[in-house]
Symmetry: D3
Subunit: 188 residues, 6 copies
């Protein structure tokens, strides 16, 4: 799995969630996770979460750290399971790397990370004809978000370090999952 | 997903990791997670983890809480991802439900849960011709284990409550994963 | 499997055969079958049956009862097999619930239901990136159809009752098929 | 799909439900349906239906016509759907080819065919590592059956003719299903 | 597998690489390979090879023999493997059917055929929602190609004969591959 | 893909064609190709090629170079296609690396390599519950073979060099196939 932190800032508008984004825009071949900082504003035409579409949700933030994961040749169930694992990795990382929580605990509910009722992240996992893809983003600031949010600034953490660390943790998790499928005997 | 805590104690010897165990032995139809208490002693012929086979590992404990998960019609990659999610759910649950950690943090490494270098759990995910199956077990005591271990007794937690709670959490996670695959628009 | 009879009348024009139609337009999550009454007129751009496209077929009727079935995470072969089973269920239901046939027998040929050379139904099964989908429709009247047809009026049957009954029968069939995949031992 | 009526009589004991039975024992390559006449007695060790295993069912009959269907490279869901279609084809064929029913109707419930509470058939669909396989059998006589049964003798039908006809109908159904997956445009 | 040499000349512009091309434009149902002669000019919007897109490649030739292969219900890995086999079949055929090589050897590198550094062919394998498809083309002349090329004229071979022969060889290869999946016993 | 030439000589008796052979016996994790020298004698109970079973074939040779390929998470169709590609790679390699053919050409027919009617190789591709596996072997001598054979001695080639070279070529081919599935845009 290739990883890349893209140093240029740009907004996520949903158009990045298309197959081969990391390859065609950033030259990463194969399974990949990329990250960058930027605003978030997803027009209705690019929204893929049916729940958001039904709720006519507004999904936006002034500054977030975005992750796009692409894994080839897997079904959507696997993609959603990986999304939950990535959320879990982020939560555990943040919990152990900040002192700003004052003994409180972040928790994961499905693909979301919360502190009390403050939402840190947004995410969706979906399927292209050749891959499963995940968008996951965490607030860097609480500006411009339509709901009560938590941000990396609240946690006093530096975005790029967080992004690179969780990408490395996810790459390691992904590699070990693949290996675990290649060293087990089948059962009757 | 059906869940069941089996009140009868019996040892896990690897023979329980076969397709339809929950259905044929306990009447649970469809995807399921069952749990029970008992010793652990896996003879070489029932060992399916290639790494253990290569290492000629001894896998045993005097008293553990065992979980068997079975999910039909999925590939092994999905099975291993679910295994990691279950480990993550257990770790999070234990961390927030015990006061015996004194500010220390449990952590998950792949499918294992640790406190410092003390290992709480063992696990394997594998494939039958009709399903993927997971065995996951946590020490109830530290007696009879071949390595330095952590146990639910150390955490001062009651086994059956833990087992039923994490099974409910996993059922909820599984249901939401399935739903997440049924309400998302595909991408190009 | 969710079922719904939509009480509003509207024409089927092929645009309803898209993934998540039942979820996004009618709030049904997961595998589903929905039905409604309305005309049928499928412009060439929405036609998906290659045979119709080659034949430059005209597919229309003034009043039909339409069914849209969506099942996630299955291949097209399964979708076509389910389509045949649904046609079979409809045929059997109509045969045993009408007295208007005077001893004659309806028969199924692939996905079509006939009485002699009179065609009762049209159908197509196809694949979205996330699901397989089936459109199946039976004439309520014989008005506006381009070929010799049979209709529910000829059979003196009330449309909504028929629709709800066959949807319930299909839900039951689908549930039992799933269960049958979860209680059988594999063979060598 | 190859079809064969095996003229030699022999009992079905469950051992025939293994991959490549038609190829290794009768030289039929590829998807196939074979039929023969003989008794039925399935020892517990060859029983694959979990429901029968739980019920400690006795499955036997003195003379039945047996069918073994094998289709490669499909999942069990497809296999069970094909099993239901085969039961449906048999029921429709019998209904229209006998005069012995006196206006009564056979009906299909899942994979079984009944007249009132008399059971005509037994069936199971399962999975080998390389194929899905179906055993389906109808009573030729009512001798030796543990429950109230219907038989081809009751229907005054000649076994071999029935067997060859339903095999031809199934081959045609199977071919048309495959073709239907190869001439449809995908949808969004 | 159906094969067809289309006698009408027309240019390949990438639009032919869409599902059901052989069925909807030429009436071939099921897995197929078709061939025709014509120029090659692929606008950027029809280009599917990410490597070409990244390189802003110019893909053209004045006269080529084009092949479109479509196989249903397979993954892209299988499609790419078939593409390599087709390239291999073409290379072997040309090597043994021309005397113009003067003892030199053609070689295959992935999906390309070369003589020294002269490129004979272009190819891509991709995935539609219902099938995998391959475009493979060999130069008939060296006119209009942007790189150093080899052509069938250099090899003094008649295009239509070559095309029909390699299509027959590929059909035979495909048939034997399918058969090989239907006559082997599974292993533990 | 891992590759290994095993320096110890041992006979192939069919028992090596089981999942995880390279991992459990030689420590290679993941997709792999291993080779070794030794006799060949496959008892009936280990024979998996149905054609050989029907023909009651004798498969043996005094000294062959054996290859075992294992690829995880692929269907048998892919496995057979890879087998054909490996045969093709071996044939091309031998043709260009020997001077002993005196202008004659080796040819591949399915999974076999021939010179005129002399057979150089034997092969089978099959499926374990977790992988597809290929056995491919070429004669080192013509001693002990039941049919007219060709051997590496006839070609005056050194076995270990051949084995390592074709394993490297296959690894490269496999890697490029995987990459080709990860850089192509899907089509409609």
């Amino acid at each position: 799995m290739e990883t890349l932190f893209i140093d240029k800032k740009f907004a996520y508008d949903g158009s990045q969630l298309r197959s081969l984004f990391a390859y065609l825009d950033h030259g990463l071949l194969g399974p990949s996770i990329v990250a960058w900082e930027g605003g978030c504003n997803i027009p209705f035409t690019h929204m893929v979460d049916g729940e958001d579409l039904l709720a006519k949700a507004v999904i936006q933030g002034d500054e977030m750290v975005h992750f796009i994961i692409e894994v080839f040749d897997r079904d959507l169930f696997s993609g959603v399971a990986l999304q939950r694992l990535f959320a879990s990795i982020c939560k555990d990382y943040l919990q152990t790397h900040t002192k700003a929580l004052n003994g409180k605990s972040l928790y994961r509910d499905g693909d979301d990370i919360y502190l009390d009722d403050k939402k840190l992240s947004i995410s969706i996992a979906t399927k292209s004809p050749v891959s499963v893809m995940i968008h996951f983003a965490m607030n860097i600031t609480n500006q411009g978000t339509p709901v009560s949010t938590l941000s990396l600034q609240d946690l006093k953490l530096e975005t790029k370090t967080v992004a690179e660390d969780v990408m490395n943790l996810f790459r390691s998790e992904y590699t070990k999952i693949i290996e675990a499928t290649q060293k087990v005997r089948p059962i009757p």
